[in-house]
């Protein structure tokens, strides 16, 4: 009987130094490894998933064991099992299936609910498919895993709500302005945070980005990097009249933007909302600015708090997701167990067919029938055979709740009908 097993390590089980050793850094290396394993023929089917947070080897073999898979790793990456075994997990059968489904649902990710993992799994699957190391079992298993991953994402809120500060900022901006395409943003400062946030806004369609920095040259540099226009630092307050979003992150020790400044600009804005994001510590914007009508001020703590709320929500949703995964594991295992009964069913059919044929021969020898009549008798025998077998086969196929009953009934049938053991 074929058995599915997996040997792997992830960000929880192993430090980066160990993960590095086992990672397959590029497509070429991965393909080479798979084709090597294909030639070896030790494993019936194999698939390797290698991302920055995990390396996992999924294998199907009739003699699956951790030793076997450690040997594979040793052959591919030259690491001994003593060296890596404390950091690895080995799972077999149902446990392996559950693990894969959990990974596909992004429940095992560093950031729960992150969407990349499903894509990475698909990539790993496609590479293995190309190299011809995926057979019907892994094919079925991974198709199911993709399905589960999508289902969990669709039916739970596991991927809802931004959980990094700069994405929260973008999300809030969208909450206020809807489409960001025609919005004007002023970036105050030219540091790393500014650049990162500016890029997020740019990728969400913001076209007009202005950069104001105390040192003109650095402002110009950042502006050219992100495709914005530099404006003189002294002009910021003048620009409040027309901006939609102001993002500030400077190293100043005292606030730069005061309630009075914004209030003056409000007259010209006629109620158009203004979103101010203050990423600096100490803060660049006087907190009282938030008291003004139509102005939304978020400082770094506010953004972090929103991110935290979202993260908590995701954790709650993860519980629901686990239930979903469990249901799917059960469905898959039921199919998996049904595979075990397949040989018995096949033998039973063959036995009956052989019996039918020999009886037919005997009958036909003693009769002189024309072709049409022969066909009728043949049909009769087939129908009878199928009708006798039918309840038995239905019964057997229904016994997939657990492994023991599959084995038990399969043996019973073999015993009754005198079928040879597998």
């Amino acid at each position: 009987m074929r058995e599915i097993g997996l040997l792997g390590l992830n960000h929880k089980s192993a430090p980066l130094e160990i993960r590095e050793k086992l990672a397959f850094v590029n497509l070429k290396e991965l393909k080479k490894a798979l084709s090597l394993l294909k030639r070896d023929r030790i494993l019936k089917e194999v698939l390797i998933l290698s991302t920055c947070n995990r390396v996992e080897l999924y294998a199907v073999s009739s003699r699956i064991s951790d030793i076997l898979l450690f040997e594979v790793f040793e052959k591919l990456k030259g690491v001994s099992s003593e060296e890596i075994s404390p950091f690895c997990y080995f799972k077999v059968g149902q446990e392996a299936v559950r693990h894969l489904f959990i990974v596909a649902s992004s429940l095992d990710s560093m950031v729960i609910g992150e969407p990349q993992i499903l894509g990475q799994l698909k990539e790993a699957y496609e590479v293995a498919l190309e190299e011809g190391t995926v057979g019907f079992f892994l094919h079925r298993l991974f198709q199911r895993a993709f399905f589960v991953g999508k289902k969990v994402r669709r039916e739970t809120g596991i991927g809802d709500g931004a959980i990094s500060v700069s994405y929260v900022a973008v999300e809030l901006a969208r909450k206020i302005f809807g489409d960001l395409e025609n919005k004007r943003i002023i970036i105050v400062g030219a540091g790393e945070m500014c650049e990162l946030a500016a890029r997020h806004f740019r990728s969400h369609g913001v076209k007009e980005i202005m950069v104001a920095n105390r040192t003109w040259q650095r402002g110009v540099e950042l502006a050219s990097k992100i495709g914005g226009t530099p404006i003189p630092f002294e002009e910021i307050k003048e620009r409040f009249k027309e901006a939609d979003i102001i993002l500030s992150s400077t190293g100043a020790s005292r606030p730069l933007i005061f309630k009075e400044d914004v209030k003056k600009a409000l007259k010209y804005r006629k109620g158009k909302p203004l979103f101010i994001i203050d990423l600096a510590v100490p803060r660049d914007v006087e907190p009282e600015v938030n008291e003004l009508d139509g102005v939304f001020l978020y400082d770094i703590d506010d953004l972090k708090q929103v991110a935290q709320e979202h993260a908590n929500n995701r954790l709650n949703e993860a519980e629901r997701a686990k239930e979903l995964v469990e249901e799917e594991v059960e469905k898959f295992m039921s199919w998996y167990r049904s595979l075990e009964i397949v040989p018995t069913i096949k033998d039973l059919r063959e036995w009956a067919e052989a019996l039918r044929k020999s009886e037919m021969e005997r009958v036909l020898r003693g009769l002189s029938l024309d072709e049409r009549e022969k066909q009728k008798v043949e049909l009769l025998s087939k129908r009878l055979m199928n009708k006798f077998l039918h309840p038995l086969l239905v019964f057997l196929k229904g016994q997939t709740r657990d492994e023991d009953s599959v084995k038990e009934y399969s043996e019973l049938i073999r015993c009754i009908f005198g079928l040879e053991d597998q």
């Binding site: 809802d160 709500g161 809030l172 969208r174 909450k175 206020i176 302005f177 809807g178 489409d179 804005r269 006629k270 109620g271 158009k272 909302p273 938030n290 009508d293 139509g294 939304f296 978020y298 506010d302 708090q305 929103v306 709320e309």
Partner: protein
């Protein structure tokens, strides 16, 4: 007859729903259907309250009555859309301002609400205006004068004036919270003239009939 008075608020609900569906695709609205459904429901319930209006009287002037009532209703439908957009705008604005986002995930963006408010106002105004003009002409042709002494007529004119100021504001660039507040107030005035006055001093139509008989 097109507009049987007893079903007026039911019709209004229908118009409101229709306007919403029309604008929904245009503004990429999400999560606004609930309040519209609620509105339409309340209006439908209102339509089951007994109404003292004299249908026969309206049937005497089918063209006048249908066009006057229909246009005014589309007008009120538009204004109620801008009212509900304004209401949600204020609620959501409050939430974002106080950093309590929670359920606001399900609401449309402030910008979408602002635009919905805008469309509501314009559709409402451009239908309400000819609606009351027609009403005036109808009164003139039948009564020979405008029934200024009737509170509903006065209040409707007041609402119209108020909304024309609001429209002027929008055109000159007013946005956001200010407009949201003003359209809520405007709708309040409109509702007083539409519903409240009936309770205080008898229905619009009975005034009309009385004046005619005098």
């Amino acid at each position: 007859m097109l507009f049987e008075p007893k079903k007026t608020s039911w019709n209004l609900g229908l118009i409101l729903g229709g306007l919403y569906l029309f604008l929904k695709g245009k503004l990429k609205l999400k999560g606004f259907g609930g309040i519209i459904a609620l509105f339409a429901f309340i209006l439908t319930v209102l339509s089951y309250f007994p109404d003292s209006l004299d249908i026969k009287e309206l049937a005497l002037h089918p063209v006048w009555s249908s066009s006057h009532v229909l246009l005014c209703f589309i007008g009120i439908g538009g204004f109620s859309l801008s009212f509900s957009a304004g209401l949600i705008y204020l609620l959501e604005e409050e939430k974002i301002k106080n950093k309590k986002l929670g359920a606001s995930k399900l609401l449309p963006s402030l910008d979408a609400l602002d635009r919905l408010n805008h469309y509501g106002l314009f559709i409402g105004f451009s239908s309400f205006t000819p609606g009351i003009i027609l009403g005036g002409l109808w009164a003139l042709s039948v009564l020979g004068k405008l029934p200024w002494e009737e509170p509903k007529v006065l209040l409707s004119m007041l609402s119209w004036l108020y909304y024309s100021l609001l429209i002027w504001g929008r055109v000159s660039g007013w946005r956001g919270k200010r407009v949201a507040r003003l359209s809520i107030i405007g709708f309040g005035i409109l509702m007083v003239s539409y519903l409240g006055v009936n309770f205080l001093s008898g229905s619009h139509l009975s005034h009309f009939i009385q004046t005619r008989l005098q």
